[in-house]
Amino acid sequence: MKNEKTIMFNATTPSFIARSSQIGKLMVNDRSGKKIGETAISELKKIVLFDKYGIKTDISSKYTDKGIQNEKIAIKMMSDSNGWFDVDADAEKIRFANEWITGEPDVNSKTILADAKCSFDATTFPFFDSTCPNKIYEYQLQSYMWLTGKTESFLCYVLTNQPEQMILDEINRAVWRGLANPKFENMDQSEIEIIMEQHVRSQWMFDHIPLEKRVKTFRIERDDEKIESMKQRIIECREIYNHLWNQI
């Protein structure tokens, strides 16, 4: 197991340390495939805005809310589905850092390093994919292996039920939309409520799908070339970061 200067988060930090969740976007190149791309620059601008003035540009959305609320359920589901015996969904997460990057994997037991991605609904769940469908997440997992010294990791997409409160909120919204829709003009509110509740629950609850089909696990091996390229990109980002910092 390779362990490269892994230290805890409160170590002395240089000017810019990337987060594992950001690294995928920072790795995006321009069309030539050789230089840093616009997506990466935009990500850096967001980081500078936050670091300098505390301005958050990624405000929480229903997509992030689901992931946060269902994280433990997702870890339990992926552990059950994969037969992981030493993964505890209630275990406290540990933040790792080195000179370039910092990250907090969802699962880091002795045998398993993994990250959970809660698909918002069935349309965004990779039912049919056989290889990791998202390069950005792949870099995130590479960064965790870089930080922990592990040689394999797992990216797990999990199709959890929508939290009940979010279902109720959506039903309320759907009812109000229904009341304004001429298609439902001959129905009263209670009738629309029944229809909307059935509709929302059928789209946002997945208990009828077997557990093993609701967890899609992609094994990602450590790739030292990718880790080296991340290191080089962070060095490049530091210059741009400093430049952007001085601009505002």
């Binding site: 037969g83 992981w84 015996f85 209630d90 045998t111 039920n161 939290p163 009263d188 629950r201």
Partner: protein
Amino acid sequence: MENQNNNGFGFALSEIAIPQSKQRTNLFTALMKFQCECQTIPKLKNGFGYKYAELSKTMEIVKPLMLKHGIGFTQMLHGNNKITTMVFHAESGETIETMFEMPNGEPSKQMNTFQLDGARFTYYKRYQLLSLIGVFTDDDLDVDSRKTNQPTTETKTPSKKQKPKLDDQRFINAIKSVQNGEYSIEEIKKMCDLTSEQIKSLESLT
């Protein structure tokens, strides 16, 4: 729809007709085990001027446990106003059942005749089933816990941390971890709730 009886079930207990002649040892044993494991069903749904335990939510909680103990149920409508609920033990074929004659409701501005029928069928189906299988509903949850602790089977977490039992796949992975030197046999024994057979297989690795 108001409850006409004071027993909280929405129908007179005398309506439960259980023939006394047949033996139902298997069914009653299974039912008893089911009752020990089944939690109180929270009343979380607001509607019709009161709170109630939604049928779909109720089913989410009771169905897996009924399945676990080999019990099932069926509910039949007879004509316009009679409803029968039968609980059965699948393996032995033993049954208990109850029949109830539902009172008629009055259509209103909020509900036409069909909606009213649907609502009262659902209402009595829920109460009849819960009564027959001996499960209670509760509305003592406070507002905050209602917001954060919805009664889905997924969100239920045990209050006391127990050692995990290992199914076949997990046990295979545990053995691999010993072979790879990630865990010692003693560590696995300490961490997990193993069967005597699993302990035996594990110890045979030395």
